[in-house]
C-alpha cells in the first residue's frame, strides 16, 4: 500500500525563503509531525552553488545580470534557476524509502524520465553525471542536487520546462561541465510548454517511483490547514 504524503504548489518563491522552509519542514518530517511532503515551485533568477562548486572556474556572472548568487549545502556544483523551470524539493524520510542516498538520487532521475515521457521525450542517465539528459547529442534537461540529514532529504531537482538556457553556459559553467549543452521541454517539443502543464506529470511520476499517495493542499482561503491528528495518521500510514 502506498504511503500518504502532501504536495504543495508554492508558485514563484525566492530561493532563500524556500531553503529556510525546506530546513524547517525537514525538522517536522523528521519528528513525524508531518508526513513526507513535496514542494513544487519556481524561483526568480538565482545561481546556486553546491558543496563541490569551484567558484573561480564555474562562476562568470556578468556585472549587469540581475541575479542572486546563493551558497547552499546541497551536493553537486553550480546551477541556475529561473522562471519556466519546475523545481521540486521532496522532504522525504528515507528511513521509509530504503535508507540509501544513491538509490534516492536514481529514483529522482527515474521520476524525471517518467515526467518527460508524456511529451514524447526520452530522458536518459549518463554514467558519472547526475541528472537527466537527452542524447545524440547529449543535452541536459534536468539537474539534481540533494542534501540528507538524519535520513530526511532537502533540495531535489530542477527541470527545464521553458526558459532561455543561456545562463547555464554564459553566467556559469553549470554543473562544472565545460561545453555541455542545456535544453528545455519546450525547445525539444517544438511548442510552448508551461510549468502548469508539466506539474501533474511530475506529481504522478513521484507517486509511482516513491510509492506515495500524494494529496495536494487546496489553494482556497481557509482550506490550507489540517488538524494535527490528520498529519499523524498520514505520517504513520
Amino acid at each position: 500500500m502506498n504511503r500518504g504524503g502532501y504536495v504543495m504548489q508554492l508558485g514563484m518563491i525566492p530561493y532563500r525563503e524556500a531553503w529556510e522552509l525546506q530546513r524547517s519542514l525537514a525538522g517536522a518530517v523528521s519528528q513525524g509531525a508531518v508526513p513526507d511532503t513535496i514542494l513544487l515551485l519556481e524561483h526568480p533568477p538565482v545561481v546556486t552553488l553546491g558543496r563541490r562548486t569551484d567558484e573561480g572556474a564555474e562562476l562568470h556572472v556578468p556585472e549587469h545580470a540581475d541575479v542572486e548568487v546563493v551558497e547552499t549545502n546541497r551536493g553537486g556544483k553550480s546551477t541556475f534557476h529561473g522562471p519556466g523551470q519546475l523545481v521540486c524539493y521532496p522532504i522525504l524520510d528515507l528511513k521509509r524509502h530504503g535508507r540509501d542516498v544513491k538509490l534516492y538520487v536514481r529514483n529522482l532521475e527515474e521520476a524525471l524520465i517518467k515526467t518527460l515521457a508524456p511529451f514524447g521525450l526520452t530522458g536518459e542517465r549518463i554514467d558519472e553525471l547526475t541528472g537527466v539528459w537527452l542524447t545524440r547529442p547529449p543535452r541536459k534537461i534536468a539537474s539534481i542536487g540533494v542534501h540528507v540529514s538524519r535520513w530526511v532529504t532537502t533540495h531535489g531537482y530542477a527541470l527545464n520546462v521553458d526558459l532561455d538556457p543561456a545562463p547555464f553556459t554564459e553566467w556559469i559553467t553549470a554543473c562544472g561541465l565545460e561545453d555541455a549543452m542545456f535544453t528545455t521541454i519546450a525547445r525539444e517539443a517544438g511548442r510552448p510548454v508551461t510549468v502548469d502543464e508539466v506539474r501533474p506529470h511530475a506529481v504522478a511520476a513521484l507517486e509511482e517511483v516513491f510509492e506515495l499517495e500524494l494529496e495536494e493542499l487546496p489553494a482556497e482561503d481557509g482550506m490550507g490547514l489540517w488538524a494535527q491528528p490528520v498529519h499523524a495518521q498520514l505520517s504513520h500510514r
Binding site: M8, Q9, L10, G11, I13, E17, E20, L21, S24, L25, A26, G27, A28, V29, Q31, A33, V34, T37, L39, L217, P218, A219, E220, D221, M223, G224, L225, Q228
Partner: protein
C-alpha cells in the same frame, strides 16, 4: 552543569524564535491570499514548536530522574 542547562535553553529559545518568524510569515502570506505558501510556513512553525517541546520534555525527564522527593 549550569552552562550545559543554559545551552539547552538557548537551543529551545532558538527553536521558538524560528517558530515565531515562520508564524509571522504565515500571517503575511494568508493576508496576501497565498494559501499554500502560508501553509508551508504554518507547518514549519509546527516543526519548530514540536522540536522545542521535545527538548523541554527531555529536560523534564532529566530533572525528574535526578530528583529524590
Amino acid at each position: 552543569m549550569s552552562e550545559e542547562a543554559a545551552r539547552i535553553y538557548d537551543g529551545i529559545a532558538e527553536e521558538l524564535d524560528k517558530a515565531a518568524a515562520h508564524a509571522r510569515r504565515t500571517a503575511e502570506h494568508f493576508r496576501d491570499g497565498e494559501i499554500p505558501r502560508a501553509t508551508a510556513h504554518a507547518w514549519a512553525t509546527q516543526g519548530h514548536v514540536h522540536e522545542a517541546q521535545r527538548r523541554l520534555e527531555e529536560q523534564s525527564r532529566d530533572h525528574a530522574s535526578r530528583s529524590h522527593p
